[in-house]
């Protein structure tokens, strides 16, 4: 047994709050923890691996002929649709996992440390971007295998980043549900209620023109529709239209509303 010398780390503040730099490095440490957990339990990646492959195959062959006349003609419509739907659905897991995590004993230790209160939350959301990256990559690769030939490589990359940013923004909604709900199961229930209308009542699978007027009105204002349209245009031509702005605006509003709510709910428990 060795007797250690005691020099408390200099960066631990004796009192007061953490600097922005310290907060960022704490969030990164928490994100590192999130990544280890993902690596240890690969089964929790089922939603970002199986779903992109399954949905792409299923919807392409199911609707291709009926909606666009052929599989090949449907791909430029459906791949951006599935990309957005899958990645956004992935963001739901943030809330469920946050809830599960907060119920564990280790969260009490985090709360007993002199770290920024926001660090565990920020770290969790940061680690989840890896999930979005996996879902995005797999959907695009599936599309390419099926014969999707986007017009612009840069456009596809930008689309991916845009979708990931929007999913990250939406994850604040689920983080809010995660810190507010009592159990992980109820978080899942609430999240589905939010997600289903948002992703299915959009132009992801069918052109909005075919819908009845009231539904078309909803689909047209749904930020997810704008995001899908933005991705279609970006990947086809590489040009960013006003749709990109609308998608970013929608994402920003979500963050501005739900980030403070989530943080406040989280602080109350943390």
């Amino acid at each position: 047994m060795t007797t250690a010398t005691f020099t408390p780390p200099a960066t631990v503040p004796a009192s007061g709050t953490n600097s922005l730099g310290a907060t960022a490095s704490q969030a990164l440490a928490m994100a590192w923890r999130g990544l280890i957990k993902i690596r240890r339990t690969p089964e929790q990646l089922v939603d970002v691996t199986v779903q992109p492959i399954l949905f792409t195959l299923m919807f392409t062959f199911l609707f291709g002929g009926a909606i666009a006349g052929s599989i090949a003609d449907y791909l430029p419509t459906i791949i951006p649709g599935i990309l957005v739907q899958t990645v956004i659905t992935t963001s739901m897991v943030t809330g469920v996992q946050l809830r599960e995590d907060m119920d564990k004993g280790v969260f009490d230790r985090f709360r007993s440390l002199p770290i920024a209160r926001i660090a565990p939350l920020a770290g969790a959301l940061l680690a989840d971007t890896v999930r979005y990256l996996i879902a995005t990559t797999l959907t695009v690769v599936m599309g390419l295998i099926l014969g999707w030939r986007p017009g612009s490589v840069v456009g596809v990359v930008l689309s991916g980043l845009l979708v990931m940013f929007c999913a990250w923004s939406l994850s604040w909604i689920f983080a809010f549900a995660g810190v507010s709900a009592r159990t992980a199961a109820s978080v899942q229930g609430i999240s589905f209620l939010v997600l289903f209308p948002l992703t299915f009542l959009s132009n992801a699978f069918v052109p909005a023109d075919t819908l009845p007027g009231w539904l078309k009105a909803f689909v047209d204002v749904n930020p997810v529709s704008h995001l899908i349209t933005a991705v279609r245009e970006l990947s086809a031509t590489g040009t960013a239209t006003s749709e990109v702005l609308w998608a970013l605006l929608g994402a920003l509003v979500v963050v501005l509303v739900f980030a403070p709510l989530a943080v406040r709910g989280y602080m109350r428990k943390a």
Partner: protein, 339 residues
């Protein structure tokens, strides 16, 4: 504000629904000492620690930790304490090394410094061989050691240990005691809670006995034992009555009262009756036996043991140390002992 006290709590209250889990607790813990909080399950020990460690907001009263108010300056308090308990644990998805590195980095160490610190602590707590193993393969004792190691990364001057040995086997328990003694020798102040009288006796300089959210006795281990007797005598007598019609148990009780001067606690057994009474001197056993023979009471079994928490509670509060989670709030008549 005086700095000779690591902890000063005045009238701490925490209410959960109708249950006053902590109901006006005062504590004064001197810097550099080990303070034991002794009580049964549900007495309010953990709730008290959680308030002092800034994990719970008190509903009433004040507390300072090394001069910092736990409500107004929680971050300052957090930088001075380490918490180990049934709740503040480690991440089960991570290995021992990864846990320590994570907490080190959260405390502001660089990646390299955190890895060095982690290796050093694993060595110190005899966990180097298990550093990379999944935590689910850890024994209870290894888990506790890792929990403790994780609280010591920043070498906090004050350490909270919530029931550090509950559920451990005797050998592991002794190891844990040695570890705690070493911490104290290195200058840390320790506040520990326990359900075991001998643990408080072995480790703590001062002890507060807590019952239904209140401190019912406070003092050194010797003070406490004086009020309880240093030994407990247990007798088992048969069922039935003596020739004169007096039940054996009642005759035995009278004999014990006469010699010891204290009412024995009577516990009915399947084939007899057990009487338990505190004794100051083991030699008094002989007098008890002589008196029992004179009364024609047959003694089936006799044990002399250290008083248990149950007996301490009986002596201090008039009721045993049953779990108190669902019980009524303390009646005012209980405060008959102030050591």
């Amino acid at each position: 504000m005086t700095t000779s006290h690591a902890i000063e709590a005045r009238g701490l209250v925490k209410v959960f629904g109708d249950n006053r889990a902590v109901d006006g607790v005062d504590l004064e813990v001197r810097t550099g000492s080990v303070y034991g909080v002794l009580g049964p399950n549900g007495a309010g020990k953990t709730t008290t620690i959680r308030m002092l460690a800034t994990l719970l907001r008190p509903d009433g009263g004040t507390a300072t930790v090394l001069g910092h108010d736990v409500v107004r300056e929680p971050q300052a308090v957090r930088s001075l304490i380490g918490v180990t308990g049934q709740y503040a644990s480690v991440d089960e998805a991570l290995s021992a090394t990864e846990n320590l590195v994570l907490f080190g980095r959260l405390l502001g160490l660089s990646g390299r410094a955190a890895r060095l610190k982690s290796a050093e602590l694993l060595e110190e707590f005899d966990l180097t061989a298990a550093a990379k193993r999944p935590l689910k393969d850890f024994s209870g004792g290894m888990r506790r050691r890792l929990d403790l190691a994780a609280s010591l990364i920043a070498r906090p001057p004050l350490i909270f240990l919530d029931e550090p040995t509950t559920g451990l086997d005797p050998r592991t328990r002794l190891q844990m005691w040695d570890t705690i003694r070493r911490l104290v020798a290195e200058g840390s102040t320790v506040l520990l809670t326990t359900q075991y009288l001998d643990e408080a006796d072995q480790l703590a300089d001062r002890i507060a006995v807590i019952d239904r959210g209140r401190v019912v006795a406070e003092g050194t281990a010797d003070d406490l034992k004086k009020s309880v007797g240093s030994q407990a005598l247990q007798l088992v007598v048969p069922l039935g009555s003596l020739p004169d019609g007096v039940p054996v148990a009642r005759a035995a009780q009278a004999a014990v009262l006469e010699v010891v001067g204290q009412e024995a606690v009577v516990t009915p057994l399947a084939d007899g009756t057990r009487l338990t009474v505190p004794l100051d001197m083991a030699a008094a056993v002989a007098d008890v036996l002589v008196r029992l023979r004179a009364a024609d009471v047959e003694v089936r079994e006799l044990t002399l043991s250290k008083p248990t928490l149950d007996e301490v509670f009986l002596a201090l509060t008039g009721h045993g140390a049953e779990p108190q989670g669902e019980t009524e709030p303390a009646a005012p008549t209980l405060e008959k002992v102030t050591a």
